[in-house]
């Protein structure tokens, strides 16, 4: 019996017509971050943001949603401008466990592909077979909802 907790991984990508450095900076500049890191970019209040933009530094993002403020916190693990940004992520939604977010900035000509990988770190061990289960979960969910 393996004592490994398998974890789901969420990967989201978007191609943005701007250089990697510009997009990378928008993650660490608190004024920029407050502007876009919020539930709906138009009509809602800017997020309240504190950023200590160094490896080991903490951040706090309070998003203002209709039901009240929602606090997200984390620690920067890797700041590799303009290629890669890794930070822990803790939100009320995720329970008590820290999850890990990796943001990659891949230049594609004049544009940049931004890839967010959000993993929920297992408590027991980091190794394990996470691959494959997302697909299975999805196909099961599909069959259930059909």
């Amino acid at each position: 019996m393996t004592a490994i907790t398998s974890v789901p991984t969420v990967v989201v990508k978007r191609r943005i017509a701007a250089p990697a450095q510009t997009i990378f900076d928008a993650w660490l500049n608190p004024t920029s971050l407050a502007e876009w890191m919020r539930p709906c970019s138009s009509g809602t209040t800017r997020s309240t943001v504190k950023v200590d933009a160094r490896e080991g530094g903490a951040f706090e993002i309070v998003m203002h949603v209709p039901s009240g403020p929602v606090r997200h916190t984390g620690i920067y693990q890797t700041i590799d401008a303009p290629r890669r940004l890794v930070f822990t992520w803790n939100s009320p939604h995720a329970g008590d466990n820290d999850s890990l977010v990796t943001v990659e900035f891949r230049p594609e000509g004049q544009a940049t592909e931004v890839v967010i990988t959000h993993e929920r770190l297992p408590e027991v061990a980091r190794n394990g077979h996470t691959a494959g289960w997302t697909e299975i979960l999805e196909s099961l969910a599909k069959q259930i909802s059909d």
């Binding site: 019996m1 393996t2 490994i4 907790t5 398998s6 974890v7 789901p8 969420v10 989201v12 978007r14 943005i16 017509a17 701007a18 510009t22 997009i23 928008a26 920029s32 502007e35 876009w36 890191m37 919020r38 539930p39 709906c40 970019s41 949603v65 039901s67 929602v70 009320p92 939604h93 995720a94 329970g95 008590d96 466990n97 931004v114 967010i116 959000h118 929920r120 394990g128 077979h129 494959g132 289960w133 997302t134 299975i136 979960l137 999805e138 196909s139 099961l140 969910a141 069959q143 259930i144």
Partner: protein, 126 residues
Amino acid sequence: MVEYKSPSQSARIAANLDATFSAMADPTRRAILARLALADARVTEIAGDFSVSLNAVSKHIKILERAELVRRTVQGRDHILSLNADAMAGAAEWIDYYRRFWGDRLASLETFVINQRKSAKKGNRA
């Protein structure tokens, strides 16, 4: 738009998800779930599908039952297993939540960066 849940609700959901995800950490158990997604099956049928002992299969099934992913109905001598859709839905919802969350954030990051560049260009011309 992403919905937020209260902390107590979240803690309960997180506890359920831990059970769900750790039950799904094993390839044999995932295969059992995939098999049950097709149709209900007897324990002995499941054991026949996989090249492991009935004893080993029983252990896997017990773990899946504890996570409430699988339900057992006893009909005479037969133990019929079926997939519990509700337990799966919680896990699927969790994934979907973050997919939408980061999808939304990336969309507004794009809007922000593009607008910033437009106003920088205007500034240069002035």
